[in-house]
C-alpha cells in the first residue's frame, strides 16, 4: 500500500514539475526580451543609480552604492540573516564540554583533531597571508572595484578555515575563540545597526548628515560605505568560521 502510494506520489510530482515548467515558459515568453535597452527594468531607477551613485554615495561601483546606501535596509536585514542563522546553528549543534561525555561514540570520534601535516603547513605559510591580503583588498576596495563585504568576508573566513586545518585548534584559538567571535560580531552588528539608524533618521527627516562624502575616487571617498563594508566583512568572516567550527566539533574550546 505504502509503496504504491509512493509511486503515485512520484508520478504526480513529475507531472506537477512538467506542468510548472510549461506554465513558467509561457509566462517567461510574455516577458520582455533579454538584453533590450528599452526593457521596463532599465528605467529611471537604474539610471539614477548609475548617474548619481558616484556623487551621492561616493561609490564608483554602483552595485556597492546601491546595496549599502540606497537599499541599505535590505542589506541590514541580510547581515542579520547571517547572524540569526548562526544562532539557529548554535541552538542545534552546541555541545557543552560536560555534555560531551554522554554522547554515543559514533558522534564523538568525528571531532578528532587532525594530525600535523608538514606539506600543508609549509605551503600555507605563503598562501594564508596572500589570501588575507586579497580578502582585505576586496573588502576595502568594495566601492571602487567589484567585491565588497560579503565576498571579502567569505574569503577571509576561508583563510581562517585553512589556518585551522593546517596548524590545529590550539594555535588558532589564541586569536579566534568564542570570546573574540562574540565581541567582534556583536560590535560589527551594533556599529552597522546604529550607523544605519542614524542615516535613516537623518534621511527621513531631511536633515543634513554629518558624514562627509568626498567622491574623489580615493579609498576614503565614500563616507559610510567603507566602514560598513568592513563591518559586513567582519560579520561574514566570523559567521563562516563559526559555522565551520560548529560543524566540526560543536563549539569553540574556549
Amino acid at each position: 500500500m505504502n509503496k504504491k502510494f509512493n509511486k503515485l506520489y512520484n508520478i504526480l510530482c513529475v507531472i506537477f514539475a512538467l506542468i510548472f515548467i510549461a506554465a513558467m515558459i509561457i509566462t517567461v515568453s510574455a516577458l520582455p526580451n533579454i538584453g533590450d535597452a528599452t526593457n521596463p527594468t532599465n528605467n529611471e531607477v537604474s539610471e539614477k543609480y548609475l548617474t548619481d551613485s558616484s556623487w551621492e554615495t561616493g561609490s564608483l561601483n554602483a552595485v556597492s552604492g546601491m546595496i549599502l546606501d540606497y537599499r541599505a535596509f535590505d542589506t541590514l536585514g541580510e547581515s542579520h540573516v547571517l547572524f540569526v542563522a548562526t544562532v539557529a546553528v548554535f541552538i542545534l549543534l552546541r555541545r557543552d564540554e560536560d555534555s560531551r561525555k554522554d554522547l554515543p561514540t559514533r558522534c564523538l570520534n568525528q571531532s578528532y583533531e587532525q594530525a600535523y601535516d608538514p606539506i600543508l603547513a609549509k605551503s600555507l605559510e605563503f598562501l594564508i597571508p596572500a589570501i588575507f591580503v586579497f580578502g582585505i583588498y576586496v573588502i576595502a576596495n568594495g566601492h571602487l572595484s567589484p567585491g565588497g563585504g560579503f565576498s571579502g568576508g567569505a574569503i577571509i573566513g576561508a583563510a581562517f578555515i585553512l589556518y585551522l586545518n593546517a596548524y590545529g585548534l590550539e594555535s588558532i584559538e589564541r586569536f579566534c575563540n568564542s570570546r573574540t567571535y562574540l565581541i567582534c560580531s556583536c560590535c560589527a552588528l551594533l556599529f552597522y545597526g546604529l550607523a544605519k539608524s542614524y542615516v535613516f533618521y537623518v534621511g527621513a527627516n531631511h536633515l543634513h548628515s554629518i558624514i562627509p562624502v568626498l567622491a574623489d575616487g580615493s579609498i576614503l571617498a565614500s563616507g559610510l560605505i567603507l566602514p560598513l563594508n568592513i563591518a559586513v566583512g567582519v560579520v561574514v568572516s566570523n559567521t563562516v568560521y563559526a559555522l565551520y567550527i560548529m560543524f566540526r566539533r560543536g563549539g569553540f574550546s574556549r
Binding site: 513529475v14 510548472f20 513558467m24 527594468t41 543609480y49 551613485s53 554602483a62 546553528v89 567589484p146 560579503f150
Partner: protein, 130 residues
C-alpha cells in the same frame, strides 16, 4: 532561433528551477533535498541576474573621468538585479547551513538521513507512549 538563443538564460533558469523542485520532492534523502533547494535558489538568482543585462554594455563601475563629465547610462548594465542577487546568495548560504545542521542533528538522533523513516520512527514513538 535567434529569439530562443537570446532568451535561453531565462528558459534554462526555469528548467533548472523545476529540476531542483522535483529533486526536493522526489528524494527522501535530506542531503539531496538540500541540494535540490540550492539548485532552486541559484536558478532563481540566474533568472533575476539576466534581467539586468543589456547587450553591449559593461559592468556598472564608472571611472573618475566619467564621474566628472557625467555618466552615460547606456554604457552600463543595470545594477539593481546584481544587488538583489548578492543579498539572495548570502541568504541561501545561511539557509543551507541551518538545513545541514538539522541534518547532522537528525543523523545523531535517528541514525538515518531518510526523512520518511524519521517521520515513521517519531510516529511509532508517539503511539507507544499512549
Amino acid at each position: 532561433m535567434n529569439y530562443l538563443l537570446n532568451n535561453l538564460p531565462e528558459y534554462s533558469a526555469v528548467i533548472c528551477f523545476a529540476i531542483g523542485f522535483s529533486i526536493l520532492l522526489l528524494n527522501r534523502n535530506m542531503i539531496k533535498k538540500i541540494l535540490g533547494l540550492g539548485i532552486m535558489d541559484s536558478s532563481i538568482y540566474l533568472f533575476l541576474a539576466v534581467k539586468g543585462y543589456v547587450a553591449g554594455t559593461v559592468a556598472p563601475i564608472v571611472t573618475l573621468a566619467e564621474q566628472a563629465a557625467g555618466v552615460d547610462t547606456t554604457l552600463y548594465t543595470n545594477p539593481i538585479p546584481a544587488g538583489l542577487v548578492l543579498t539572495g546568495i548570502v541568504v541561501s548560504v545561511s539557509v543551507t547551513a541551518i538545513l545541514l545542521a538539522l541534518t547532522v542533528k537528525l543523523h545523531e538522533e535517528f541514525g538515518t538521513l531518510n526523512i520518511d523513516e524519521i517521520i515513521h520512527m517519531v510516529r511509532e514513538e508517539d503511539r507507544r507512549k499512549e
